[in-house]
């Protein structure tokens, strides 16, 4: 059985079929990228896998468990983390607190213990802090550890969001356009981190991305989507030269 399997996934908003009968499988340890023109339904697929949207038809199976109807807040507990296209950080909290929220699923203290700040809370807080500091070190975020997000530049926020997803301690990482809005060097860093995350942490990466140079650098396989339907699946090279994909991008 495969690691993540999406079978016949469809969603309809009113009369619009945003995603139509999409099936694919992601193997463990893979970097799998979804590309496609704007409005192709890439982010919608993401939103269904991370359970923000509920599909009208089809199944999502993660590690032999059907998660198609799982409540959103339980997705993180399964080890699935995500980032957002337009950055959804907690604006009025520090970087450290943002990352610590990622550790939420690892806290097991009750409300009463929290109010008393009991020894168990204290111990867990220290563990969280150490885990988060490892992420901070990996992504070189030391300089903004105690700064509020609202005062940080876009590129840094993008990295912090990646860090927050890593703080969850995920097995599967969903990255929604990790390079959008980044300059060339920042994109380059991002590519390194994605490869690092896969190699050093053994995390499977599912990604939506527009920047083809980044895509071909990091992806094992690429899926091209257009109007909610699959056009092609294969290596970056194969998909990029696929006649349908070329036509969709050049608009013939």
């Amino acid at each position: 059985m495969s690691y993540l399997a999406v079978q016949g996934l469809s969603i309809q908003f009113g009369g619009l079929k945003a995603v139509d009968d999409v099936s694919f499988e992601v193997a463990q340890g893979e970097v799998f990228t979804i590309i496609g023109p704007n409005g192709a339904g890439k982010t919608t697929v993401f939103n269904m896998i991370s359970r923000l949207y509920t599909p009208t038809a089809g199944r999502i199976v993660f590690k032999d468990e059907d998660i198609t109807r799982l409540p959103v807040q339980l997705v993180a507990a399964r080890g699935i983390a995500r980032t957002f296209q337009n950055i959804e950080l907690f604006e009025n909290a520090s970087t450290l607190d943002n990352l610590l929220v990622g550790r939420h699923r690892h806290s097991s203290t009750s409300l009463v213990e929290d109010i008393l700040f009991s020894g168990r809370v204290r111990r867990q807080e220290l563990e969280h802090r150490e885990a988060v500091e490892r992420v901070i070190e990996l992504l070189r975020l030391q300089h903004c550890r105690d700064m509020l997000i609202s005062g940080l530049p876009y590129g840094v926020r993008k990295v912090i969001e990646l860090g927050r997803a890593l703080a969850i301690g995920p097995e599967l990482l969903l990255l929604d356009e990790p390079s959008s809005g980044l300059n060339v060097e920042e994109t380059d860093d991002m590519a390194h981190w994605i490869l690092d995350i896969r190699r050093r942490l053994g995390i499977t990466v599912l990604m939506v991305e527009h920047d083809m140079s980044l895509v071909s650098r990091v992806s094992d396989r690429v899926l091209a989507l257009n109007y909610g339907k699959i056009m092609a699946v294969g290596t970056a090279q194969e998909v990029q030269t696929h006649p349908d994909v070329v036509a969709a991008y050049l608009g013939t």
Binding site: T43, N47, L52, F84, N86, E88, D176
Partner: protein, 290 residues
């Protein structure tokens, strides 16, 4: 049965006033996503002004009415300029509180200027009644219903079809984008407050013969919240329908249920409505895009 119909008609007239106040909420909310807790106070101010023009200065009813409406338009946009504009884009909580503060200021100033006695204005409809079979309908009530329907139609048309109405809707969706599209955002905001104050003024003048004028009629504004929520908060016909529902429920529960229910009926309806259909009768639910 006759009682029931009679009460229902009274309820509809009352509901139309709620609807009119709710309309004021809806207008401002639609264009600026600000909930104006001072709407009831604007209505009160309009009623006091019309009293000054009609009763104190002895002007003709219609002239006094028109003058009051014009004054309120100016006052409305002034309030926007002084209180709301500096804090546009703040969290809603801050803005709501600012309008509550504004309401307090307006109410206490009105109390100081016009005193705390009940005031009364003579209208062309005063004492007039229509008899229909066994039913007796006061001309005052009828005037409210007719005026409300007219006003709703005009405003609906304004938002739906005029260029400036559409610009207002665009502004509420995204102020920055609207600004880049060349919409004079600031002027739009002043304008919407002016319109809303005018609507409030009309509500106040129409209501004056029924409840008399005193500094506390502003609290009726609080009764109009359930109406606006029931109607979905951003729908003009919704405000009217919501107002009528609240008015009828309140009047009937005052007539048929034990004492005490009348005052809370509107809020009970509101809470039930929020539980069952949080988006109201005419609202739409939007999914957040991420």
């Amino acid at each position: 049965m006759l009682d029931f119909i009679q009460q229902t008609i009274g309820g509809i007239a009352l509901g139309c006033v709620y609807g009119l106040i709710a309309l004021g909420f809806v207008l401002i909310y639609k264009a600026t996503e600000v909930v104006n807790f001072a709407q009831g106070e604007l209505m009160m101010l309009g009623a006091f002004l019309s009293f000054t023009f009609i009763a104190t200065l002895g002007l003709n009813y219609w002239l006094g009415f028109a003058l009051a409406v014009v004054c309120m338009a100016v006052l409305g946009s002034t309030m926007e300029r002084l209180v709301i504009r500096p804090i546009l884009g703040y969290p809603q909580f801050s803005i709501v509180m600012a309008t509550i503060g504004l309401g307090l200021v307006v109410r206490s100033l009105a109390g100081m200027l016009w005193g705390t006695d009940d005031l009364r204005i003579e209208t062309p409809f005063t004492g007039g009644v229509f008899k229909l079979g066994g039913l007796v309908i006061a001309a005052d009530s009828l005037s409210i219903i007719v005026a409300t329907l007219l006003l709703c139609a005009v405003l609906y048309w304004f938002f739906r079809y005029t260029k400036i109405g559409i610009a207002m809707q665009a502004t509420s969706q995204n102020m920055l984008a609207a600004y880049y599209m060349g919409i004079p955002v600031k002027r739009i905001f002043s304008l919407i407050w002016a319109i809303s104050a005018m609507v409030a003024c009309i509500a106040g003048v129409l209501l004056a013969p029924i409840t008399l004028i005193h500094a506390n009629i502003g609290f009726l504004g609080l009764k109009a919240f359930p109406a606006a929520v029931l109607g979905g908060f951003s729908s003009i016909p919704g405000a009217l329908v919501g107002g009528i529902i609240i008015g009828v429920v309140e009047t009937l529960s005052g007539f048929y249920l034990p004492e005490g229910f009348k005052d809370v009926a509107a809020y009970v309806v509101l809470l039930v409505a929020l539980m069952v259909m949080p988006q109201g009768l005419f609202g739409s639910r939007a999914l957040k895009k991420v």
